[in-house]
Amino acid sequence: MNVNLAGLILVFAGTASQGLAQWADPSSGIVFDAPTQSIRRIAGFPGAASLSKPLVQNLDWAVIAPSGKRGIAETQSGDFVWLEASGDEFSATRVVAPGAGPFLARWNAASNAVRIYSAACSCFFTVTLHSGQPVLTGQTQILDTASGTVQDFSWKQSITLVATDAGLYRMGISSSQLLKSADSGVTYLLEESGRVWATRGATGEILEVVQRRGEYGELRLVTADPAALSDVASIVTSGNSILAADRKTQRIRQIGLTSGVVEQSWDLDAVPGRMTSIGARPVWIVHERSKAQDPMLILDASNAPRVYFIPGGGEQ
């Protein structure tokens, strides 16, 4: 671009003393806290953070959107609700879900739709925000050919990849296609920016589900380092690397996407689980606590990746 705008000036919109510069509460994101069955804010920045008082209580299950401003939840009374945040205030809209929990949920990157798997109905459904209201769409029954216990799934638009103990399936709206048989061993799937990553739980291998001519079908090995990765719980991408949480070694491993080698590691004080994004910054929960006095562990990759704890105990 080589354009000159006539008379372009940049100005500070006010003086700091006039208060146009706004101070706000530091925050690292929103989380569902299982021990207190509530949604809570991580107040403060990693390293000096604490869990806030519960913002939404009496929840059996919830998954917060990457934006940190929405969530999907099941209340203790069995209602399935869409949550919208305004500051620390949440409003809930009931959604009639086709099945009951336990659920697996994956938000899209825009945080305006969430794909959910219900084990009770063996079906997938999507809740999408339309005109400010959550709408149930895209209900797909698990077909017979996609039988088996669902381990994980990823989705983008109308395509859902499902890893079951019977194999890796590609599911459309009304069809199911076996991509890889059960010996593929895929237990975890991650879709980011149009690429799908997978892990083999038994071997710790990290793979990419490669598209050929717009169709998924091939598994490309990204890394296989049994000494470093033998029981991968989950992965996330950060820049040109993958961050993998290994249960056996209780470490986060940073693996170069192109080199496939471990570049850096961080020890954890607890066994990692599914890494869940908790806000706009590249911060993930790596260990969800099971008891209120336990700390929560988060991985902050906003600068040099680093693992922090959020102190346990009561509300701060």
């Binding site: 671009m1 354009v3 372009l8 000036i9 101070w23 006095q293 704890f309 105990g313």
Partner: protein, 611 residues
Amino acid sequence: MGSLSRLLLLALTALPFAAQAQAPFVLRAQQGDNLTQVANGSTVTFSSSSPGTPRTIQILVTYSGTGSVTFPSGISTLGSPAFTAQLTSGNGALTPFQTATVEVVYTPTGTDSVSGELDIGYLEVSSSGAQAQRGLLTLGLSGGVPVYSLSYSTSSGGNVTALAPGGTLLFPDTLVNTTTVVPVSVVNLGGSAGKVVSVSLSGGTFAIAGLPALPLTLSPAAALAFQLTYLPRQTGGGTATLTIGLDGGVTQQYQLQGLSIVSQVAYEIVQTTGAIPLPAGQQIQFPETASGSSSQFQIRLTNTSSTDFVLSGATTTGAPFGFTNLPLLPATLAPAASVTLGASFAPLQVGQFSGSIRIGSDTFPVAGTGTGLPGYTLTGPTQVAALDQPAVTLTLSQAYPVNLTGVLTLAVASDYAPDPAVQFSSGGRTVAFTIAANSTAAVFSNGSSTVRLQTGSVASAFTLTPSFATEQGVDVTPASPTTLKFAMPASAPSLLGVQVASQTNTGLTLRLLGVATTRSLTSTTIRFTGATGFNLPNLNFTLDLTGPSSLWFNSAASQSFGGQFTLDIPFVLATSDTGTGATAPVLALQSVSATISNASGDSNATSLTLR
């Protein structure tokens, strides 16, 4: 009873008198110097001191009639051949008031009682000589010997042992300067009364007690009871002879034998390597014992005497000393039997202790030293920065013998407002730990030997102080516990990131995320870089934050966040080119870089690509 029956009884009892009244004699029995009138038809009792020893009784027969009398048929005895009789005087005719003497001899052949009859036939002639009348005097004869049996009891159960003359009475082993009392009984088991004339002893360590006045006649089945005592003054054996004098000059002798000992039991300290003798009265020195823990000795008592030993009690003096496994007392130990007691020393404080243990009649002085917690090391940072989460460990310099519990307390001092984010990973500013017995590493409530804490975001001085207690609650914290001190110095602020909080075609709001350990900011400098092809006259901005930051850091909202802040700064792009299809002014910005400052200096620069 009716009147007729009473009359009949009176008639029956009067018959002997009537018979005697018909015999004109007065009968008397003389035994030594004793003279006793006996009635015709009555029984004369003979008592010999022993079989084979004759006893003689003279029967004096005095004629009380008015004529004369002779004994033509002589004297005869019936029944037991142990009785013999003969007329020794008055063999001719007796005139009134003359006396004939019949000597009856009883010679027992055994210890059984015997009986017989003495018959004296007579012929009385009246004074006129006109009438003569025969008659018979009859006396029953009864003979027997006393049989003495000595018996004693030496056991608490009262078992009685008979002892034959010449036998030995064995006293129970007796502690020096204590008295053993043995009850003794001499019983007359014979059929005739006997007489104990004397009881005497030879031998200084034995004595007689409770002896009644002698001589004492013992009727058949009667007993003479007294006690023999043994009071040794030194260890060793003791003997004596007990002599019992009986009537007839007969004596019976018994040997007394005793053993004096220092103790009736032997003590040993039982260890895994064996048993060590423990003389009574010897001091028991317990090993140095960590306060809150305990040391024990197993003391074995063995009854080394030949009789039962009764352990009546076991007590201690001195608070830290006690017993751990006392049997139910009193306990009786048979000879050679043992019982083991656990003596313990459980100091609750540091220092030296003394006391005593008393087992039965034996006392043992005891002593022990209570030691304190060994040294320990707290490892952790010496200096920290904002948002640090350092690890801390706590290690004893040597193992402690009992399980310990403790609390590690984090204290914070700051010239600025306190930062609530300063906490252990488990929450709060205290964390519990345990140190297993015989180990050194503290294990914190997270199950790990390390615990992390977050230092917050405000310049502060930190002090970690542990406290220790045993599981029983004994505080073993040193008087001046070792602490770990570290500090977060005041420093220039730190920018964690710069973000676009919001953006339109003509403006954007930058969000600065940062930390100021002094909870103060002076200014921020924002430097934009124009996109290629754009010419912006003013790309650098320095904003004074002294006042605004003071408002923030003094606000109630900021108190929860220490030195952390989020600052949104709006910018507007204005252009005079408003024609259709004009490029959005915000696209003229390529990137932005920011720093922020306080009195300690400038922060790191943080940049963000805008397009």
